[in-house]
């Protein structure tokens, strides 16, 4: 009576590689001497990400040939968009890993030991002893595993578990900043509480949809839509709750309140990682859910998504303008980007899918690069000791004069955020806005264009600050300085910058791949 499920090991290889790397990472913590732990962890993580990327590429060729298929009793769906989302995720995660692993001035961005009470004697001892919280790497690998499953999840339960697998490590990582420990711990708590809150919504949505269709497979729910009558409320509310759960993760207004605090408090490399990768994963899942389940809804959810998209674009932009902290500014700008991306979701056609893919790639490259640069800009007190990252915008004044290359790269990422032509951001915006226009949502596009214009203001303000303002010296003699990276961050920044330019100037290849992937098959 019991039939053992067939498991497609080959197709699962990307996930398995990462899961294996995460477990090995945990074992490394136990068995490798402290001195060489970090090196081993970095190598294992990098190899795993690279290997998974190779595996995804191989699966892409297989899928191109054999067409999409369902894996492990229908838990996963291996199709072109899923693989492309996974590839983007892995590329961004690899870049983010470089930043996470970097030790500018011999210090990484993480507390020597998260268990120490901030400011205690023990913490000082740990710092002097050169401890390192190398659990960061296996935790990152677990998060990437969850993210990798997320775009491919074909039933709501797998999606829910993947959501948790990607979230739990991030809650922990957010609390491990080396400096400003209190703020970091608080970010961790806020992220955790609101994340758990949102997963409760997701779960209730799942339960209602199960009640509606008697199954949690997206395909079954979609087929049930025209057949089942009398329970439309369950379907509608269930879909809305699931979407709300996902909107929390992408940071759409009004479910964005965690974003600025968490982005500011988390260690900056982690901020870059989650800002880029979580958004990719969550939008992938949102896309799959909306495109597979809701078309049958006859667009009852459209007004809801419209309002969320408009609010997200407008609130994100307006609040970004009034910020004075660099990471908070970037956080609100990422909220605004979520709004632009929602246009692609609402468009509900193939153009929307490829548009979102391109936009996410562009946004991810700029985000990882920008946060990588934020890790290098530090404040120095009167005695010349490094105090921490330069958070306040005014501390970025005059950077263009002292470190022109860094400032030019940062300006490039900002221009990409702003969507200036010849940067990747423009390609993404054009693709998504085009999809929305084709879908008939031109009022949204008008609002989006206006929001972009307003957003350009604060990006330009930062550029002005860097190039045209005299460097400021604080009253206490503190000043801003740029530390040299160990090399890894520099590599990540260069790759991001080159990618941003390439996707901006010659996007044909990327667009072609995205167009190939834009067929969602049940």
């Amino acid at each position: 009576m019991f039939v053992a499920p067939h498991i497609e090991w080959a197709a699962l290889s990307p996930v398995l590689i990462l899961l294996g790397a995460a477990v090995i990472g945990v074992l490394v913590e136990a068995f490798v001497p402290r001195g060489s732990r970090r090196l081993v962890q970095v190598v294992v993580a990098a190899l795993a990400l690279g290997g998974a990327l190779v595996a995804v590429t191989w699966r892409w060729t297989v899928v191109q040939q054999d067409g999409p298929s369902s894996l492990v009793a229908g838990a996963l769906r291996e199709d072109a968009p899923a693989l492309l989302f996974q590839a983007i995720l892995l590329i961004l995660a690899l870049l983010a890993l470089l930043v996470i692993a970097d030790r500018a001035r011999g210090e990484d961005a993480f507390t020597p030991t998260a268990s120490a009470i901030p400011g205690s004697e023990y913490e000082g001892q740990a710092r002097r002893a050169g401890l390192a919280q190398t659990e960061v790497f296996p935790l990152t690998m677990f998060a990437v595993t969850g993210m990798l499953v997320f775009p491919a999840a074909a039933d709501l339960l797998t999606m829910f578990i993947a959501l948790e697998v990607l979230s739990l490590p991030l809650y922990l990582l957010a609390g491990m900043a080396r400096r400003r420990r209190l703020v970091s711990q608080e970010a961790s708590l806020k992220y955790f509480l609101l994340g758990a809150f949102s997963s409760a919504f997701f779960l209730m949505g799942l339960a209602l949809l199960y009640g509606y269709a008697g199954s949690v497979h997206l395909a079954d729910i979609a087929t049930a839509v025209p057949l089942v009558s009398g329970m439309d409320g369950l379907l509608l509310a269930g879909s809305a709750l699931v979407i709300i759960g996902l909107l929390f993760k992408v940071g759409a207004v009004p479910f964005h309140s965690w974003t600025p605090d968490v982005y500011q408090g988390a260690p900056t490399p982690i901020t870059g990682f989650m800002a880029a990768c979580t958004k990719v994963a969550a939008f992938a899942a949102l896309l799959r859910f909306v495109y597979v389940v809701t078309p049958g809804l006859g667009w009852d959810l459209a007004p809801f998504l419209w309002i969320v998209a408009i609010l997200t674009m407008v609130v994100g932009t307006v609040l970004a303008i009034v910020q004075t902290d660099m990471k908070r500014t970037l956080a609100y700008s990422s909220v605004a980007h979520a709004g632009f991306l929602l246009l692609g979701i609402i468009a509900l056609d193939e153009r929307g899918i490829s548009g979102i893919l391109v936009y996410l790639l562009a946004y991810g490259l700029a985000t990882v690069g920008a946060f990588a640069l934020v890790t290098l800009v530090r404040t120095k007190d009167a005695e010349g000791n490094l105090v921490g990252e330069a958070g306040h915008l005014s501390e970025w004044a005059g950077l263009g004069r002292r470190s022109p290359v860094l400032a030019v790269c940062f300006a490039l990422f900002l221009l990409s955020f702003a969507g200036i032509p010849l940067t990747a951001g423009f390609t993404g915006k054009f693709a998504v806005f085009g999809a929305a226009v084709a879908g008939g949502d031109w009022p949204l596009v008008v609002i989006a264009v206006l929001a972009s214009a307003a957003a350009a203001f604060f990006y330009v303000r930062i550029i002005v600050l860097m190039f045209f303002t005299e460097p400021a010296t604080g009253e206490d003699g503190s000043a801003t300085t740029v530390v040299r990276s160990e090399g890894l961050t520099a590599v990540a920044v260069v790759v991001c910058a080159v990618g941003t330019v390439l996707v901006g100037v010659v996007p044909t290849a990327v667009l072609a791949v995205a167009a190939q992937a834009s067929k969602f098959l049940l």
């Binding site: 998260a114 809650y171 209190l182 608080e186 708590l189 409760a200 209730m204 199960y210 009034v322």
Partner: protein, 99 residues
Amino acid sequence: MSILNYLVLSGILFAIGGTAVLVRRNAIVAFMGVELMLNAANLTLVTFARMHGDLTGQVIAFFVMVVAAAEVVIGLAIIVSIFRTRGSASLDDASLLKS
């Protein structure tokens, strides 16, 4: 008596849990609110499983318990580490992060 009653009960519990998260300032209480929401969803799942005559709902509820257990471990670890730092688990005391 119909199984609808169970659904109404779960709806009430879900709403109370959600309100607790939004209203209460103590992290532990807010977290318990989340747990209540998860349990409410479980009751819904179990009820629907009975309605459909299909055990999938129960299996999902079981998964939720596992997930919740892992979440509780992480959450409480975070809360304890914050408490050790500041001697309070109130979300109001945690107000360093202000725009």
